[in-house]
Amino acid sequence: MHLTSINWFRYASPVSFFPVAQRLARWFGAAAALLAIVGLWLGLVVAPTDAQQGDAYRIIFIHVPAAWMSMFIYLVMALWCGMSLTLNARLSAMMAQALAPTGALFTVIALWSGALWGRPAWGTYWAWDARMTSELILLFLYFGYMALRHSIDDPHRADRASAVLALVGAINVPIIYFSVKWWNTLHQGATVSLTAAPKMAAIMLTAMLIMTFSVWFYAIAITLTRVRAIILEREKSAAWVGTLVGAE
């Protein structure tokens, strides 16, 4: 098959994407589970105890991947939103809708695990650190996106209105981050800083990267599973859904 003969928009149709999503979700789900086993074994068993922080540092194997994913998913969501507005493709909007809960979940995990780590390391659950504050505001942005979607009954209007919101939010995320950073440095010096962590041992870094891929693949698998549910829900009057449900 020649490259030019590939129809790039073939899988933009929910009908053809639905079975592909199922297969992809299985593979990514299996890969996520496998990597999680390896990553957690390396991180919790093989990696040595930290000289300064003891075993409390092991939270990074969950915390750092979750924090990375929380920001990355917002970016991907905004990308799908932009595609849904410009190309007017239903599936793009469905992908954005399916990503939001996972993004919010990782934001909560990052905040929660950070608080649990902060208690032994900093002596407090919450400090108005620039990263923590902007992560909290990111959580509000996710909640705003989901709340706007849920309060609009017409799915087409919900798609486009929430897409506008996600894009405005995506422009604002870096502005919020830098303003919070500026605010924080003015109010309290860098008494606590995640960036000043001691140089990380190779085994810890490996475990963390493996966990990052595990979390990433989990996000892909769960998003594809959720998008399948959304497709079924929104295309329920389509003939192919009728035959599919009738056949199973």
Binding site: F140, L141, G144, A147, S151, R160, A161, V164, I176, V180
Partner: protein, 233 residues
């Protein structure tokens, strides 16, 4: 074709002027509503010393933040006025169909909204600053920051007001959508007063507020027009 031609840039300024005149006239006919918004601002600000105690040093430290957060809330409260009435009686649909470019008409409406909400609020803020024992230069920094910052609040808020047109959970939803976007304005606005209090020049904060204003003057009416067309679909 002719409709397309009149949608060119030359029709933008008359569109702004028309919407500005119309909305100002409407707002000035219901003066009570404008007064209520200012009273809301004054009451919220007054509640804080009652809650935290009247210690002068504490109030001086809290003052800039309290005055700015109250301004954010007052701005939020006034946002439904922008489009809701026009949406309910169908005027907004006619406005969207007019030959003037929609972003220009929206810019006029937002400007009128700011002149009747943000500007008076900024004007009374030095008086309220007295309650917190802020001195002259700090009151000037507060006034300048509010004059630069509240137009941005109106511009960003207009996007949220357009997105939530006709929705059940209107008010609370609008707060959830818009307040996170207000964060940078709050930080730099209150920061300007704080810097003046610390004896530093507040030029940097004002520059950032001015930059945010310019960026949102360019971007917000376009996003708002897109949101209104979505709501009218």
């Amino acid at each position: 074709m002719s409709a397309k031609e009149t949608r060119s840039g030359s029709a933008a300024w008359p569109g702004v002027a028309w919407a500005l005149r119309r909305d100002l006239r409407l707002a000035l006919r219901s003066k009570a509503e404008l007064g209520v918004q200012l009273l809301f601002y004054a009451i919220v600000v007054t509640l804080f010393p009652l809650g935290v105690g009247a210690e002068p040093s504490l109030l001086r430290a809290l003052g800039p933040g309290v005055l700015w957060v109250a301004a954010l809330l007052a701005s939020l409260l006034s946002l439904p006025r922008l489009f809701a009435a026009d949406f309910a009686d169908g005027t907004l649909e006619q406005i969207a169909l007019s030959p003037y470019p929609l972003p220009a008409l929206i810019s006029g409406k937002i400007l009128a909204h700011w002149l009747t909400s943000g500007a008076p609020l900024a004007a009374v803020s030095p008086i309220l600053a007295l309650q917190f024992g802020l001195d002259g230069s700090e009151a000037v920094a507060l006034l300048a920051g509010l004059l630069l910052g509240t137009p941005t609040l109106s511009l960003l808020g207009a996007i949220g007001a357009a997105l939530t047109l006709g929705l059940r959970a209107g008010g609370a939803l609008l707060a959830l959508l818009i307040l996170p976007l207000y964060v940078p304005i709050l930080i730099f606005g209150a920061g300007a007063v704080g810097a003046t209090h610390a004896g530093l020049a507040a030029g940097g904060e004002w520059s950032v507020l001015g930059a945010a204003l310019l960026a949102s003057v360019v971007g917000a009416p376009v996003a708002c027009a897109a949101a209104i067309r979505i709501a009218l679909d």
